[in-house]
């Protein structure tokens, strides 16, 4: 593995640290902040070394190769440079967050989210597989939801956070569909291979739907019109979170994807029109939103929208010149937007407000923050020699080369955004301060603001060097012309003229914006798409509730009926139910028994269906079970017959208790015959009948059964094939089954609490006949159970059946209220039996591993006719756990003794 990819996990180290020492973190928040920031900055510095050079770092591990899903990473200069921005700004944000929420109990949560979020974002930009990218992409959506909803005690915040989540997840789902379509068209899921196909003409055949779906994902993530509304709402998150989401992460993922795919997809007829229209509309909307806004943070959020609009526009153009502009504009934006947001947080902390009108002349009162803020705004409005200036110039240049009309439009839009920048900064610079400093700013919060602003300046001071090492390398990796470099001065070009024009026009814009008549924000300025969004959500919620009401109709039976109806319809259509099977025989023998049995079964079943008296019901159910047991016996399945009889007995025992209790509480009102239910039931029965008739026609080979029959004696030393299958051939299944049984028993115990209420059984069990008889039966049954268990391998019997026999004996004991079978005795011992049984079964499975045989292989010890082996040990485990299971249920049913 290329060591550089260890940096993907670097942000997890602070998360782990925070997780382990939560209490300490809260007490020493500032120190934690510095440590986290130091670690992240160190990672950023290490990564910075990977930026120069043209080397492409790669890592690949198979994940689901059949589906084209691979854990493959790639990192070129651009990816490394982007990663540096993410890590470095992450450092500032974590430091800021630690100071901002010092001493708050939920600080660890926020820090962990920030760390995970950083890793997810790095994953987005370093993924080489579109599906891996998608996973990281969704992770950023989810984590940003958690962070935006940090103040989850407020309903409003929860709503806004879930709006962001729904919009980005919805877009993500669309994108996944688009990515799958792209994979099918291009035949690869690797981003490197996709980008390498640029210019090959293959894109021509790609369906418009695929392009639109992918664009949809990118647009929702980057909050492009008409999905722009979630981003300003996401300001409900705390300041450091907003600073991070708006600068280097989250919203940048969308434009990152656009820029990565631009070389490939720009040739598609839908790409440029869709993205450029959306980008321009986003900028216009952002301007209109911010024009009358007095909240500093809201204005900043709108400028983020505008900057994303410009980046989208560059990706829409998709030419090498545009990608050159993309890199510098993205870098500039990340470096000025983070300090701006953090500075607003500082202003709010220091002066208790973030309304522009109340913050006049305050910048000088907090000099460090104020300076950083002014420097950042200079970059935002694109004054030379800030990075923002380069961004604007190269944006205009690329637009001019594409279409002069577009360039003029961009210049006009830029004028608007610059006007917004002036609106932010000029009032703050006034001579007279309107407020006093109310609270002192911690050092960490000031440093976090200053560092990125300083980064902007450093980048420009060392432009000749950084140009060669970082910016140019990153741009050419993304697809800009070879040997890309940024120059502050490149002659009297149209771009320069447009830039100057925009700057001049912006003064007019600012004058208009600062007219007092415009200042108050009317309440009726309801964002259209916001409202539309809530309509859609309300509609979905409403219709879901309606459907649920319709399906449930207040009774569980109705809901069941709907589900069964659907299953039935699917089965019926698959069965071709309208065709009567041609022949109906698979060579089954002996109708004699059936002719006797069938009427009994049917009559009993019908009685059970309509009976309302407890005793009738129990007797009829007993007859059903009994006749089925006889059926099993007749058709060569003695094991089944025994199991059926015993399970039926125990079940009726439990059912009897439950029914008595139900009757006592309900005063047994018989429910009348319902024709609707009858029709439903009869059609279900007919369907199953058809299914059986049709399936009996299938003539299949049964090599597995043949193998079991032929190998049972020689390989597993057992004559009873059914038992051998259970404890040897398919022992793993059986093991799973007894685990399920034990879990069911434990679940009933723990989920329902200690056995306080018991089902009543006939309390008057003083009949001496019963007492004496039961004693006798018990004495016989317990050895019988053991004997049944022992003979199981060679004759009908075995662990299951033996356990049920023993449980029946215990049932007798409970019925006659033997002291021995008290509730606490049963509880303790059923648990012991189950755990012991499972342990023995597991030991039987593990023993062969000791001698180098596979899991569950049979080990045997022979002495004459006696064969002892691990399958028998396993059967003992089955015996004990099933016995424990049965006892644990029987203990809920106690006679009324006291």
């Amino acid at each position: 593995m290329d060591p550089v990819f260890f940096l993907l996990g670097a942000p997890l180290v602070p998360a782990l640290m925070v997780l382990l020492g939560r209490g300490l973190i809260v007490r020493h928040a500032t120190l934690t902040g510095w440590l986290c920031a130091g670690w992240m900055l160190l990672s950023a510095a290490l990564l910075l070394m990977a930026v120069p050079g043209e080397q492409m770092h790669r890592f690949k591990a198979d994940w689901l190769p059949q589906l084209g899903v691979e854990f493959s990473l790639r990192m070129d200069s651009f990816g490394a440079w982007f990663g540096v921005l993410i890590l470095a700004l992450g450092a500032c944000v974590m430091l800021y967050a630690a100071c901002y929420f010092a001493g708050k109990p939920r600080l660890p949560f926020l820090l962990i989210c920030l760390s995970l979020f950083t890793t997810a974002m790095l994953g987005v930009i370093w993924s080489d597989n579109i599906f891996l990218l998608f996973l990281f992409w969704e992770a950023t959506s989810l984590l940003s939801f958690l962070m935006v909803g940090f103040h989850d005690e407020k309903e409003e915040v929860r709503e806004k956070a879930s709006q962001a989540l729904l919009v980005t997840f919805g877009g993500g789902a669309a994108m996944l569909a688009g990515l799958i379509l792209m994979q099918q068209h291009f035949g690869t899921a690797s981003i490197s291979e996709l980008v390498a196909m640029a210019g090959s003409g293959k894109v021509a055949g790609l369906s418009g739907g695929a392009v639109m779906l992918v664009i949809l994902g990118a647009m929702t993530k980057s909050a492009q019109w008409p999905f722009h509304f979630w981003l300003p709402n996401a300001m409900a998150g705390p300041t450091p979170v907003s600073a991070y989401l708006h600068s280097a992460t989250m919203v940048k993922a969308g434009v990152f994807l656009m820029a990565t795919l631009a070389p490939l997809l720009a040739a598609h007829p839908l790409w440029t029109p869709l993205l450029s229209i959306s980008g321009i509309l986003t900028i216009m909307t952002a301007f209109l939103r911010a024009a009358r806004e007095d909240d500093l943070k809201a204005v900043l959020a709108s400028t983020t929208l505008a900057a994303l609009g410009f980046l989208t526009l560059l990706a829409a153009i998709g030419t090498p010149a545009a990608l050159l502009g993309f890199v510098i504009l993205m870098t500039a934006h990340a470096l000025y937007k983070a300090p701006l947001f953090l500075a607003v947080g500082n202003l709010e902390k220091a002066f208790g407000t973030r309304r522009i009108s109340e913050l006049r002349g305050t910048a000088r009162l907090i000099p460090a923050t104020g300076t950083a803020l002014v420097v950042s705004v200079f970059s935002l409005i694109g004054l030379a020699p800030m990075p923002g200036f380069l961004g604007k110039e190269y944006l205009l240049k690329a637009a001019w080369a594409y279409s002069p009309v577009l360039a003029v439009a961009v210049a006009l839009a830029a004028a608007g955004v610059i006007g917004l920048g002036l609106k932010i900064v000029l009032p703050l610079l006034g001579r007279k301060s309107s407020r006093e400093v109310q609270a002192k700013l911690p050092l960490g919060m000031q440093v976090a603001v200053v560092v990125p602003a300083l980064g902007s300046l450093l980048l420009m001071l060392t432009l000749p060097m950084s140009n060669h090492a970082f910016l140019g390398a990153a741009a050419s990796a993304l697809g800009a012309p070879e040997e890309a470099a940024y120059k502050l001065w490149h002659g009297w070009t149209p771009a320069l003229g447009l830039g100057m024009g925009a700057l001049a026009l912006s003064v007019v814009v600012w004058r208009v914006l600062s007219r007092p008549r415009l200042a108050p924000l009317p309440e009726s300025f309801a964002p259209m798409f916001d409202t539309l969004f809530s309509w859609v959500i309300d509609f979905i919620k409403g219709s879901a509730a309606g459907v649920a009401r319709m399906l449930e109709a207040g009774k569980p039976g109705t809901q069941l009926a709907w589900m069964l109806l659907l299953i039935g319809l699917v089965t019926a259509s698959a069965l071709k139910i309208y065709q009567w099977p041609e022949a109906t025989s698979n060579g089954s023998e002996g109708p004699a028994a059936l002719l006797l049995l069938m009427p009994v079964t049917v009559l009993a079943a019908m009685t059970a269906a309509f009976a309302s008296r407890t005793i009738t019901l129990l007797v009829s159910l007993g007859f059903v079970g009994l006749s089925i047991a006889v059926f099993f016996l007749w058709y060569s399945a003695p094991d089944l017959a025994l199991t059926q009889l015993l399970a039926e007995t125990l079940l009726l025992f439990l059912l009897g208790g439950a029914l008595m209790k139900a009757n006592r509480s309900r005063k047994g009102k018989p429910s009348g015959f319902s024709p609707g239910r009858a029709i439903f039931a009869v059609s279900g029965g007919l369907l199953v009948m058809m299914l059986i008739l049709k399936s009996s026609l299938i003539e299949w080979d049964h090599p597995i059964s043949d193998f079991h029959l032929s190998q049972s004696k020689p390989a597993a030393f057992g004559a009873n094939v059914v038992n051998v299958i259970l404890v040897d051939f398919r022992a793993l299944d059986t093991f799973g089954e007894i685990i399920v049984l034990v879990i069911a028993a434990l679940g009933a115990t723990s989920a329902l609490g200690a056995a306080r209420r018991r089902a009543p059984l006939p309390g008057d069990s003083s009949s001496s006949w019963l007492k004496t008889g039961a004693e006798l039966v018990m004495v016989v049954m317990i050895p019988l159970a053991l004997w049944t268990f022992w003979r199981g391998h060679n004759a009908p019997g075995g662990g299951f059946i033996g356990a049920l026999v023993a449980a029946s004996a215990a049932g007798m004991g409970i019925l006659t209220a033997r002291k021995f079978f008290g509730p606490s005795w049963l509880r303790r011992n059923s648990l012991r039996l189950m755990i012991g049984g499972l342990t023995i079964a597991l030991i039987a499975a593990l023993l062969p591993l000791l001698v180098g045989r596979p899991f569950f292989a049979g080990l045997w010890w022979h002495s004459g006719d006696l064969h002892l082996g691990t399958p028998l040990l396993f059967d003992l485990g089955v015996f004990l756990s099933v016995l424990g299971f049965a006892l644990s249920y029987l203990r809920y049913f106690q006679p009324n003794r006291i």
Partner: protein, 100 residues
């Protein structure tokens, strides 16, 4: 012959369904009980039904071909026990959740 078996199972299932969608929770348990009986019989019958051909081996390999198919039997055996487990669990739930 198959028609008879299919008819029996179909009626069992119909009785189970009638109970299953009934008004009370006990109805549901009884319905489930009948349904599982029907389902067990279906699986059992799918292996072909033979009289006097229990899958017990007495050492004569020539008789193997005539024996009944043991695999569905093993499946049904576990199904019976699991079905018992589920119903017992359900009954306990109902008992504990019903008002005193």
């Amino acid at each position: 012959m198959e028609l008879l078996i299919a008819l029996t199972i179909g009626l069992l299932i119909a009785a189970g369904l009638y109970r299953l969608i009934g008004p009370t929770r006990i109805d549901m348990v009884i319905g489930l009980l009948l349904l599982s009986q029907g389902a067990n019989l279906t699986i059992f019958a799918s292996g072909g039904l033979k009289h006097n051909a229990t899958a017990l081996i007495d050492g004569d390999p020539s008789k193997l071909a005539g024996l009944t198919d043991p695999l569905p039997q093993a499946l049904v055996l576990t199904a019976i026990v699991i079905g018992f487990g589920i119903l017992a669990f359900l009954l306990t739930l109902i008992l504990r959740s019903s008002p005193k």
